[in-house]
């Protein structure tokens, strides 16, 4: 207590240096190496994460562009379809109109020819009937000569009508 033992001092110095060397070689050295390795690992993982984040961003942009492209294409297709359908509708309406006009014309022609036929038939019929009527009246009142004159006159009148 009251005396300073320098031998202890020397021993303490030697002991401390030996301990420092031992710890450095067998304990701290390996531990520092492991900590350094972990630091590198974390750095690596961080840089990997950064790259994958960038890649994800790039692919997202790409997808956005692709989506925009697809949307534009879809609009174009819809527009095309719309114009095509309008054209087709016009065509259908046009052809229907043409058909209708054709049918009407046919019908008119039919009507005309039927009318002509009816007129011709009627003319023949009326001629016959009037002859019959006249002959019945004249049989009783006039001779054959005046009868013929009368018939002709009547016929002319009918024909002029």
């Amino acid at each position: 207590m009251d005396k300073f033992i320098w031998e202890s001092t020397v021993f303490a110095i030697v002991a401390f240096l030996v301990l420092l060397w031992l710890l450095n070689k067998y304990a701290f050295g390996p531990l520092f190496a492991v900590m350094e390795k972990r630091r590198q690992l974390i750095q690596e993982q961080m840089s990997t994460a950064e790259t994958s984040r960038k890649a994800a961003e790039a692919s997202l942009d790409e997808q956005k562009v692709a989506l925009e492209q697809a949307r534009k294409e879809a609009y174009a297709i819809i527009d095309q379809a719309r114009s095509t359908s309008t054209k087709q509708a016009d065509e259908i309406v046009q052809s229907a109109k043409n058909e209708a006009a054709r049918l009407k014309d046919d019908a008119l022609k039919d009507i005309e020819s039927e009318k002509n036929k009816a007129i011709a038939a009627l003319r023949t019929e009326v001629g016959g009937i009037s002859v019959k009527i006249a002959s019945k009246i004249i049989e009783k009142q006039v001779d054959e000569k005046s009868q013929e004159q009368l018939v002709d006159q009547y016929l002319k009148e009918v024909g002029s009508k």
Partner: protein, 256 residues
């Protein structure tokens, strides 16, 4: 009070209590460190490895608070060894003591007739203590540190290291010299006095017998705290001295 067993081998004195406890401290420190690095793993560290990495982190931060970050790595091992060795040394004397009573002269234990007379025929020899409760040991640690400080100062920062003795004026040389001499003295005495006082108080409380138990518990708990503080102080002061000797601060000089 107790005497310590000192074997005189032809003028070379071996203090068994000091040598023994230093060796025990070394074994504990080394065993602890080896246990921590038993199964080293980068991704899945064991609990002991985590604990040791926490200590390393703590010392790293401590050292980094005194010097630029890129210089820390060189002194990390020194700081770690200092803090572990001193802390374990400080705690070593706390849990128990080994004291034998001798009434015969014993050359091997350094018990002389004069010593026996001084204690009236019965001398108590203590074999167990904190090595840091011995001024010879703390002086050894301080010598290592101060040697390192001046060596590094001369080697890495020679011009400014030598110049700082004559600053701010050459007349200040004696003051600066005293400052440099007081560094190892305070380093050694502070540690020694704190731990030695703790042990003295423990010995005193033990005289109280059973009534001293609560005091003993309280003081031992406080001694653990003091041991930690002193280990930390010794380490950080070492780093501050190294930093002062080796690093030249431009802005600091302009500020003076």
């Amino acid at each position: 009070m107790h005497e310590f067993p000192v074997w005189d081998v032809g003028g070379f004195r071996i203090d068994f209590s000091t040598w023994g406890t230093i060796i025990v401290t070394m074994i504990i420190t080394f065993a602890l460190a080896r246990l921590a690095v038993r199964n080293l793993s980068v991704e899945n560290p064991s609990k002991m490895q985590n604990f040791m990495e926490w200590i390393i982190e703590f010392v790293h931060n401590t050292v980094a608070s005194t010097m630029p970050l890129e210089k820390v790595k060189r002194y990390l091992s020194l700081g770690l060894t200092l803090i572990l060795f001193i802390f374990i040394s400080n705690l070593l004397g706390l849990p128990f003591g080994v004291v034998f009573e001798y009434s015969e002269p014993n050359a091997f234990l350094g018990i002389t007739n004069e010593l026996l007379e001084k204690y009236h025929g019965h001398v108590h020899i203590a074999f167990w203590k904190s090595p840091t409760a011995d001024l010879s040991v703390t002086a050894g640690l301080a010598i290592v540190v101060i040697f390192l400080v001046h060596y590094l100062g001369l080697k890495e920062n020679r011009k400014h290291y030598l110049k700082h003795y004559f600053e701010p004026f050459p007349i200040f040389f004696p003051l600066n010299l005293i400052k440099e001499i007081s560094k190892p003295l305070t380093l050694a005495l502070r540690l020694y006095a704190n731990i030695f006082a703790g042990e003295v108080l423990i010995a005193t409380i033990l005289m109280l017998g059973l009534w001293g138990l609560p005091f003993l518990a309280a003081w031992q708990a406080f001694s653990i705290f003091v041991g930690g503080i002193q280990a930390f102080l010794f380490t950080i002061l070492t780093m501050v001295y190294i930093s002062q000797a080796t690093i030249h601060h431009h802005d600091e000089e302009e500020a003076h």
